[in-house]
Symmetry: D2
Subunit: 472 residues, 4 copies
């Protein structure tokens, strides 16, 4: 068991910051000490195996990305990051836990699929990982599986209001899953877009020869997101289930979430870095087929409609509670399946490596406070998904997942620079960050330091999660 | 310098809880240690001067009551608690810091008054104390004083929209104070009731022979609070000043605050225990003159109108951010100034001793989580009023203001029981709490333990506050 | 050609009232004259064939009931009023025009069905009638039919968000119908309840042995109406189609409509007498199977939830624009199909005879003004559905559909009293109205007078309607 | 007594239009006849004294301008139109009734002032006129006067939330006036701007050398209007008084009014042509002192803030109910009192002549329907201010105030063109209208026809008004 002391840094949590040393004993945090680590005359720094000097830097709980899709099968291909490449890239970027999605497509058995996902991930991950379970076309067997999975530490279930015959659940099916969640305490995650609406517009656009990537965005208007968000909220109101809306991108959807929250409902929302920085006009509308790089759903929203500023505001006002990536990368040869028909472009953007940095840039530009940054990327994800205490906090007994972040460092994002995801392009090419992930520890082991990856596939363990600790 | 170890307890902060020991060295927290306090083979528990066993109990940062009025002159008399009696009672109840109000009445000089309040408090307080400054009838000198007082650690200024010729500032005066606050970073606190409206209704009621204490409540309808709250919010929107609305009691006022917050404004609200538990019908409407005990402003609200549940909800949804007491006690012989004319009853309720307990009962009944309790009574008050790091947190370097709270204890509130405030009645007579303040430390000194008050007048020091740490 | 003079009455329209005589020449209004009918020295009263003395009474345009279902096939039976019995009852109650629904069930051809409905009504109606077209499971042929039907004077199309496989259209299908309406100017009418949600709850209740009529109401919660209303509004916002929500009963659905209207959308709502007077507790919850009398959808709402007062308020504020009956009567032997399973009870209440009276009672009780009464029952229905000028107004050239209403008369509703509908019970048994329909003219013919029905089947003609005249 | 027949026109009211002839007998409408005026074989056209051919034109009730200030004393000068010049100009523009304001400044006696205004107007007016009474600094005598004035036919009272020491009433004073209005049925009209706020900003701007006309607008931000509007609404909610907000210009104020109306309150709002067409940037911000032409309060609003489109929308949605002018003209030599200090520029714009035309242009551009135009300029003003039946409608017994409006005509506004107001400039110079006021009758007399003014000072009579007929 290695002992480590991180000295001289500023420990930041969601309510404030303090100059303190962090003592790690084996895989866990042992203590938060005064700078200098002298306690009652005992100089603990002399006794440790290794000292990490964090002077002038921030010491924060490792990032938790609660929304990733490694190796996800989609439209005849697979997301290009394996659990190994994806978690390695995550570690590079200061993320020490992911919560990925085990997928039960329509017609499949949930528990069988759950096991299949375990098999994929086992022994591959560089950092710790948990699972949400995707349930499609909710059936009685699905409801039974929900109880069993909660016992397994899978306490959140994602449903889809889009993708008919593949992932979609009818409203009545959603209702039954929500009733189960209200009963067993699980959290319902919702892909809130009106699938029937969108499918119809897609058909019309394609029939009309409007096949460029831009039309992916056009086919999924904000109204279709707002509508589904409202519908999910009403179903949650009726069933008393807690609801977590994934990848919120429309300001009107935020307004629905805010209203539900003011009304006392346990309704939450996540946004993603792409909705904070990228737009329909600038990225999806890029010349030729280049826009395909940024085809994801919900889509990038129109700059002219003013969604982006509102997303940042919602992060400040806590109308949105956290930022995940919805990491679902595809290479350009995969994206090219949709040449001539935007609806065949695999949906997804790869960001798992850059989330911590991209959000930190919001601290630099004054969009969010330093404390809110930590809350958004680590504390709330841990609480929301039942890991707090073990993850998301620097306190005795917690896993020693720690990031030393240098506000005087610099990070240039892009291929040939920071890029470690298994993608042949970067959706974030050219982004510059006024800060740097210096050192990353996962359960006490240094996995990134000095520009080197020091971790290994298989270090990461499955995280059995409790029920959400964020409910009121 | 005494060293103290609090062992075996559950340390609770606003995001979660952890089993940990707390080491105190002199006046400050030294470290948060693993249970057992063995670090790298060193058993720290052997080296300390005293050990406090908190097994099975909660260890939390000392309560901060951000709204008290010790010895406040009002209507020809004075609030009955001195800084000594009031802070002693506070300590008994687990509150280790108060922020009182230095009062500049219309026509007085702010800085002179500020000095006068320092003189009253100096050497008298059992626990630490800070000051907000009340500014009445804002004048150019007031604006100048704001800059000087911020430099002195008085970073919040309370204005009144009621009490003409005594405390009220006109809207244009409020505007100038807000402009100054937007400039120097101070926080504007607002008594938000429409004074002209209320004064007129009071006159009508008294002329009509409606003079019982109940009519105090009737004379201050929710509309007069909602209106003033909205007005203050609009002035804050225009000036870009942060705004903190005190003693919110009407659900419609909460709705105004919630809307402003969803809109991205730095607008905050506090409520008080009386609005969570007491009502117009049950208390103010008590037979004869007994209702006088609960005459305070904003008034107790009507049960029939449904405000109370909404106050609890707003605490859950963070539409209200903290709970203070507005402690302003008067004895019954003082209250009797208003026999035959409710408008002459000194306004105020004494609660400084019971806030921590009364809010804990909300944890017992499931209204709020344990973490939210700590946030409401200590963490957010510290952040809101620029003390976090020193106060409001258990972390190395913070003041060792600590409460050991026993969830298996019991507290019966009332005269001859827990009552230590200088009042001849208790507004909370008969309230039973399923928990107990066992031990209280103020800057490392045990001031309450084993049912004994072990502190002393003069232990408490003035807290120089920073600007609010809660702004977005 | 008969000439008729209605003398001495108070002519009421939606903006005011005037003492005036009404001259009818043949089937049309000829002129609005001064009381006494002397013009430039010519006494017109001497020249007419008949004089109707309306002294002390109101003279108003005949009622227009824009939502009836005569002989509608439903759940294996038919609504019990034929076009003959139903329109005769309507005439008795002061209604001179109905707009019924031609029904295309899923799988049927719209135009064929439209013709079938014409065949049913032809030669049977005692008063004039128009058709809306119901489109189920919208198909390309439906869209084509919409253009043809608009040309035929059928300018409104009703869609269903409930009743899967029978009437329901998917959201994408609704979208296409709305696009067509936005293009050709038709009005989309919507049955706004979430069918998938309701079907699931119905199954759960029945499985649980909760089969009494009360559970019909329980199975269709306000959330399922509010949700569908919001969804329809968003689809209308996207397509720019005008939207008319039928039989609104939930106050939260009204709030959605009000918000859309404040936002400038052409969104309208109708309520029905049952939602203004009857409740879940008092009627649906009647002992045994009696509640079946009041099984209709949307259902009677809970008194405790406070919908009813809000419906009246919405009529005052114009958040709802008109009152129709949704007349769809079934006899008790038909209702008994649902003994032991509320979901098999034919849905519908018969009110076509009483709407004018029931609304007038709202004038008596002060809920609405006299002018608003006329607006709700005649003027707005005419404008909304493209008949104004011919119907809904007393002006030269308009059809002489006129009601003489006596505010000093009295009407006792119920079997053996006023009841002329083909039902063996009255949903309104025991209601007393402080007013009376004295005389009714349809296109210049007296069809009701002196307590006698003087009309005949076949007098009524099909009304070819223009596009809505109510759009902004 | 002259008899007149207006033939061949389209009579338009607020719900629709009809081809009809209008027969006038003396000062009143006698009948609405079929085109051709043949009734039961009698050709009435042969018997009349004069025939006005309105073929192809609209025949509408004469315009009612419910907000004018003839000869109003303001800031040491007087509005430049006398009752004679102002009402003559009004007639030219199709307005046949004005409601002017009798002014009681602070310290004056209301009834004395009321008599003084009668004296000013008597024998001078070319068209009929009524009075609202302005009450400043409401006193007990004011409340008594309210009862007496209602009996005199002055049923609306205007209060000010701005202009301290001159016109302003404190909130408590407003409260008492509203209580009186709730009691006697009068309508409270409100100038809703926060005077204390604005006065402070004015002082700051002037002290800062920002003295150009543009700063008049800057000194009166939308927040100060929204705030006062909300405050007035809350006072009205508490007192149950009906409330009419004058010259609404901020979209946020409209939102407050809309919310109150959706909530069932009798709250109304008027806007003015200037807020529909002119802006802060384009007019107030004109180079040099030219912006002074458009100094009025509330001020022209910022184009960038997007108020103007919302005003049109609010006219469509009935969130605003009518359009008045707030006609208060000053010549440039009067405006020049404010050279070097915008706060000394007399406030007011002259529009009484152009309102009917300017609103008609909204019909041309599709902003409002033809029927809504008539409603906004004549029907609703009549109903709102208790004149309907006599004014605002073409029906037997109504005053024969009639305008023949030619949609194929054209009107060029400006000096040397249509201008008849006593002003040396036109605020509307260069506006082109695709329509024309051809003929105007006031109580049966042709006052404008063939481009000639045929009326006379003294023809106009005082209109004793009833209580508002628009309340729900």
């Amino acid at each position: 068991m290695t002992t480590t002391l991180i000295t001289g840094g500023t420990v930041v949590n969601s309510t404030g910051r303090v100059l303190a040393d962090v003592l790690i004993d084996g895989e866990q945090i042992a203590a938060i000490l005064p700078p200098g680590s002298v306690l009652l005359g005992t100089d603990l720094s002399a006794s440790v195996d290794q000292v990490i000097d964090a002077t002038g830097k921030y010491v924060i709980p490792g990032g938790i990305d609660a929304h990733t899709h490694m190796e996800m099968p989609f439209g005849g291909t697979f997301a290009s990051d394996t659990f190994e490449t994806g978690t390695t890239a995550a570690a590079w970027g200061g993320t020490t836990t992911i919560v990925d999605f085990a997928v039960q497509y329509a017609g499949e058995d949930p528990l069988t699929q759950y096991e299949a996902w375990h098999a994929k991930a086992a022994g591959k991950c560089a950092i710790d990982y948990g699972f949400h379970q995707i349930l499609s076309d909710v059936q009685p067997a699905s409801l039974q599986a929900m109880d069993e999975l909660v016992a397994e530490g899978v306490t959140s279930f994602k449903l889809f209001m889009a993708y008919k015959n593949v992932l979609l659940s009818e409203d009545g099916q959603i209702l039954t899953a929500m009733q189960k969640a209200a009963d067993n305490g699980a959290l319902i995650m919702m892909h809130a877009e009106n699938g029937s609406w969108i499918d119809t517009v897609v058909q019309q656009l394609v029939a009309d020869g409007k096949t460029d990537p831009l039309y992916h965005g056009i086919s999924r208007p904000w109204q279709a997101e707002e509508e589904a968000t409202h519908r999910a909220i009403m179903l949650a109101d009726y069933t008393k289930a807690p609801l977590y809306v994934v990848h919120v991108s429309a300001k009107q959807a935020v307004a629905q979430i805010a209203a539900a929250r003011d009304n006392g409902q346990n309704v939450f929302g996540e946004t993603c870095p792409q909705y904070l920085y990228l737009t329909l006009e600038d990225q999806l509308g890029a010349p030729g087929f280049e826009g395909a790089k940024w085809v994801c759903s919900t889509p990038l929203r129109s700059k002219a409609e003013g969604h982006q500023d509102h997303m940042w505001q919602a992060l400040r006002t806590n109308d949105l509670q956290l930022v995940s990536t919805d990491h679902c990368p595809f290479c350009m040869n995969q994206k090219q399946m949709g040449l001539g028909d935007f609806s065949k472009i695999p949906n997804g953007i790869g960001s798992v490596e850059h989330r911590v940095d991209l959000l930190y840039q919001g601290v630099v530009t004054g969009q969010i406070s330093l404390e809110r940054w930590v809350e958004l990327i680590a504390v709330t994800p841990a609480r929301m998904f039942g890991m707090y205490g073990t993850k998301g906090v620097l306190a005795p007994g917690a896993d020693a997942d720690v990031v030393v972040y240098d506000p005087n460092g610099h990070t240039s994002i892009g291929l040939g620079k920071t890029h470690h995801m298994n993608m042949d392009y970067s959706a974030w090419e050219g982004f510059e960050i006024d800060g740097h992930v210096d050192t990353v520890l996962s359960r006490g082991s240094v996995v990134v330091d000095g520009g080197q990856f020091l971790g290994r596939a298989g270090h990461g363990r499955f995280v059995k999660r409790d029920l959400s600790q964020y409910l009121v």
